[in-house]
Symmetry: C2
Subunit: 212 residues, 2 copies
C-alpha cells in the first residue's frame, strides 16, 4: 500500500491526532504543510481537499477524505496492529463517547475559546478577549470533570490500552495546559493530569509533539 499523506499544519490538534495514530501503528506518512497562521487552509488548493477549510485532509490508496474521526477510524481499521479501539461494543462505548465529547464540546471550550484567545492571538500581536475566556471556563471545567469521570480508574480511555479517544484528547489538553486557566482546571482533575503524564512517555507523542 502507498504511504498515507496528511495535509495540515503540525501545530493543529486534529493533525496531531491523526499523526499520533499513524505513529502508534508504526506507519510512515508524508505531511504536506498547510500553514494555519497564514490561512492557507482557506485557500483554493486546500478547499478542494476540504470544502469547509479545516484540517487535516487525508489521502491513502486512492481514498481522499477529511474529518478527523473518519480518518482515525480508517487508520485503525486499515493498519491492524496495535488495535486503537477496544474489542467489544461495550468497551467501545467510552471511546466513541469521548471522541464525540471532544468534537461537540471539548475542542471549542479548550482551544477556540481559551487557548486561541489566551496564547495564539497575543502571539500574533492581538489582544485576548477576556470575556470569551471567562465564559469558556465552566465549559472547560465540565469537559475535564466528565472525561475524568469516564476515565475512572482505567489507564486509558481504551481501558488497558491507548485508543483513538486518547489520541484525540491529548493534543487538545496539551494546549489547554499552556494557559493559566487550563493549569488551574487540570490541577482540579488529578486523574486527567496523571493520564497526561502517562501519555507523554509514549514514543508517538515524543515524535509528533516534541515540545510538550
Amino acid at each position: 500500500m502507498s504511504q498515507p499523506v496528511v495535509y495540515g499544519d503540525a501545530i493543529s490538534t486534529y493533525v496531531r491526532s491523526v499523526r499520533l495514530a499513524l505513529e502508534e501503528k508504526g506507519v510512515s506518512h508524508t505531511l504536506v504543510a498547510v500553514d494555519l497562521v497564514k490561512g492557507q487552509h482557506k485557500e483554493a488548493d486546500h478547499l478542494v481537499r476540504h470544502p469547509w477549510g479545516k484540517m487535516p485532509a487525508f489521502e491513502h490508496d486512492g481514498n481522499s477524505f477529511y474529518e478527523v474521526s473518519a480518518i482515525l477510524r480508517y487508520i485503525d481499521e486499515v493498519f491492524p496492529e496495535p488495535a486503537l479501539m477496544p474489542a467489544t461494543p461495550v468497551g467501545r462505548i467510552r471511546v466513541n463517547q469521548v471522541m464525540s465529547i471532544v468534537d461537540s464540546y471539548g475542542y471549542a471550550a479548550s482551544i477556540t475559546n481559551i487557548f486561541i484567545p489566551r496564547v495564539l492571538v497575543p502571539s500574533l500581536g492581538g489582544q485576548t478577549d477576556e470575556a470569551q475566556v471567562e465564559a469558556a471556563k465552566p465549559q472547560a471545567a465540565l469537559f475535564l470533570k466528565e472525561i475524568g469521570r469516564l476515565l475512572g480508574d482505567a489507564s486509558y480511555f481504551g481501558g488497558a490500552a491507548v485508543s483513538l479517544a486518547d489520541l484525540l484528547v491529548l493534543p487538545v489538553l496539551t494546549y489547554l495546559r499552556a494557559t493559566p486557566e487550563g493549569q488551574a482546571l487540570l490541577a482540579a482533575t488529578p486523574s486527567i493530569e496523571a493520564w497526561m503524564g502517562r501519555m507523554s512517555e509514549r514514543g508517538s507523542v515524543q515524535a509528533v509533539m516534541p515540545a510538550t
Copy 2:
C-alpha cells in the same frame, strides 16, 4: 437483554436518529419524554444523564451514556441485523465522514441557524433573526452540495443499504425542508431530494417521523 431506553423529545433530530436505528433493527424501546420546548433537558434530572443538557441520553443492559454517534454505533454493534455500517473500511469512510459532517457543520447550518429561527422561534411567539438565517444559507448549501457529492450515484450513504449516516442526515434535512430556504436549496440538489424520497418510504421513517 433488556429493552433500550431513549431519553429525549420525539421532535429532536438526534432522538429521531437513535429511534430510527432501533426501528431498522426491529428492536422495541421505551421513550422517556424530556420536553425540549419546556427546557426539561436543562433540568437536574436530565443533567445527571447528560451533563451538557443535550439529548438523547440512552440506557441499555446497565450501560448509560450519551452522544448520538456513540449511541448509534452501539446499537449497530449490539443488535446484529441488518448491519447499519458497510462491511469494509473503505466502505465505512463515507459513512463516518458524513456522520462527522452532520455534527461539525450540517446540524448548525440547517437546524440551529435556519430551522429554529425560521420555524420554531415564530411558533413560540418570537421573531426570526433574518441575519442569522441569511448567514447560514451558504453553509447549508455547502452541506447539501458536499453530501450530494459523497452520495454520488449510490442509493444510500451506506452504498446499496441504509447506514447510520442516512439515519443521522434524514431528520436534519426534514426540518431544513420545512423552511423556504431549505426548499430552494434542496431543489438545487436533486440527488439529495431523490434520496429523501427513498428514505421516506421506509417503515422506520413512517414509525418515527409520521408527519414527514
